[in-house]
């Protein structure tokens, strides 16, 4: 497919650029990147429960195809930011950790079972879980030196994880791709169960 080849080429460029971006970290300072962008960018990457769920959202979106492939990565960051705002404002939300673990289980199982949920229902499921993820991040946020840099880094990292999931999900049209995706869904669901029972 043309979409895949162009997308994969673009993704290749992003990864290549990322490889060459290491020396730029030498210039970060507490008032700029260190206290803001890098801190925000790395925050979603340091929790495997978050990483698994966000990649799962991307895979599920690709699995459900258009419009889910782009709708879910639009819904998730916006609702997650709402959850983060609740956390920053100190408004409590119950069952945060079980909710985060359940997100991996539910979305992982949806991929494993090849569940073609209606788009509205998929958006609601993803949105509800995004609240838990956002709230967890919001309550853990430091009093960052550069709030806008932190927020941009945070949202960008989340979006990149979705894109990674979508890129993996595009294997669906390749030989054996569907099996690989469903297998990945199973692994994510098992990881979610591990998070829930404190095994992982």
């Amino acid at each position: 497919m043309k979409f895949e080849s162009t997308f994969m080429r673009g993704l290749g460029l992003v990864f290549t650029a990322a490889l060459f971006s290491m020396p730029a970290f030498a210039h970060e300072s507490a008032a700029g990147f260190d206290g803001g962008f890098v801190s925000g960018f790395t925050h979603p990457l340091f929790g495997w429960d978050h990483v698994a769920a966000m990649i799962a959202v991307g895979i599920w979106g690709a699995f459900l195809r258009a419009p889910a492939i782009w709708l879910l990565p639009i819904v998730f960051p916006m609702v997650m930011a709402l959850g983060a705002a609740l956390g920053i404002a100190g408004i409590p939300v119950p069952f945060i950790e079980p909710g985060i673990a359940a997100s991996s289980i539910v979305i992982g199982l949806a991929i494993l079972l090849a569940w073609r949920a209606p788009i509205a229902l998929a958006a609601v499921i993803v949105g509800v879980f995004a609240i838990f993820h956002g709230h967890a991040h919001g309550t853990e946020l430091p009093h960052s030196a550069n709030a806008i840099a932190y927020a941009i880094g945070f949202v960008l990292a989340t979006g990149m994880l979705h894109l990674a999931g979508i890129a993996f999900g595009l294997l669906i049209d390749r030989p054996g791709g569907k099996i690989a995706l469903r297998g990945a869904g199973g692994v994510i669901a098992m990881l979610g169960a591990g998070f829930l029972f404190g095994i992982v």
Binding site: P73, I88, A151
Partner: protein, 217 residues
């Protein structure tokens, strides 16, 4: 003579290309050579004002978001909302220059950026009436935020800042329009600005919470 009317079939990209080239030439020839080596701490006056959308991220976010929104408006003529935007920037700029106490808060800029971004992300083709409405309010927010409060060199800095606020959306309009012009060949091209707009909206929501927290502290 440069036509301000876009063709009924195509977009306004050719017109904006012409406007950008003229603006770039004016800026290039109007800049004194010594400024080419100036750093931001050293720059002042008109040039410092031009860079205001870059130095003030909240204003830059709104201006960029409006540029993408304008490209999403698949009206035959995108010039009219742009003219509304320019007029709003100038009206708000003059008003705040005379009455500085009317300068907007960070929350107002963020709320406006959020509305513009959500409109871009939510609509496949933004309705023309909504574009006019958002153009007017974006212009008012940016124009009123662009005015320098420092007494010395206030006029040239503010003038540069107003022009910067008017020019800045075009840099985002261009790439977004380029993508839309090619969406018949690559249907997923129109998704890129929508996803990016959703990310900008997410940043705005978090920033509003940050501002709220800092106000409450």
């Amino acid at each position: 003579m440069v036509s301000l009317q876009c063709s009924a079939q195509g977009s306004c990209s050719a017109l904006f290309n012409r406007v950008c080239i003229v603006l770039l030439m004016v800026l290039f020839f109007g800049t004194r050579p010594a400024w080419a080596h100036g750093s931001f701490p050293g720059s002042e006056g008109f040039v410092l004002g031009l860079a205001h959308p870059v130095l003030e991220p909240l204003q830059g976010l709104l201006a960029g978001a409006f540029g993408v929104l304008l490209a999403r408006t698949r009206a035959h003529n995108q010039v009219h909302p742009l003219l509304v935007y320019v007029a709003s920037v100038l009206i708000a700029g003059v008003t705040v220059f005379v009455w500085p106490e009317l300068s907007p808060t960070s929350l107002a800029l963020l709320a406006m950026t959020l509305v513009v971004s959500v409109s871009t992300a939510g609509f496949k083709s933004v309705p023309i009436f909504l574009t006019f409405f958002l153009a007017a309010f974006s212009g008012l927010a940016i124009g009123s935020n662009a005015i320098s409060m420092i007494g010395e060199g206030r006029l040239p800095t503010s003038l540069g800042s107003l022009i910067g606020g008017i020019v800045f959306p075009i840099y985002f309009y261009g790439p977004a329009n380029w993508l839309y012009d090619r969406e018949t060949k690559h249907p997923w091209f129109h998704l890129v600005p929508r996803v990016l707009a959703a990310w900008v909206a997410a940043v705005c929501i978090m920033m509003i919470a940050f501002v709220y927290r800092s106000l409450a502290a």
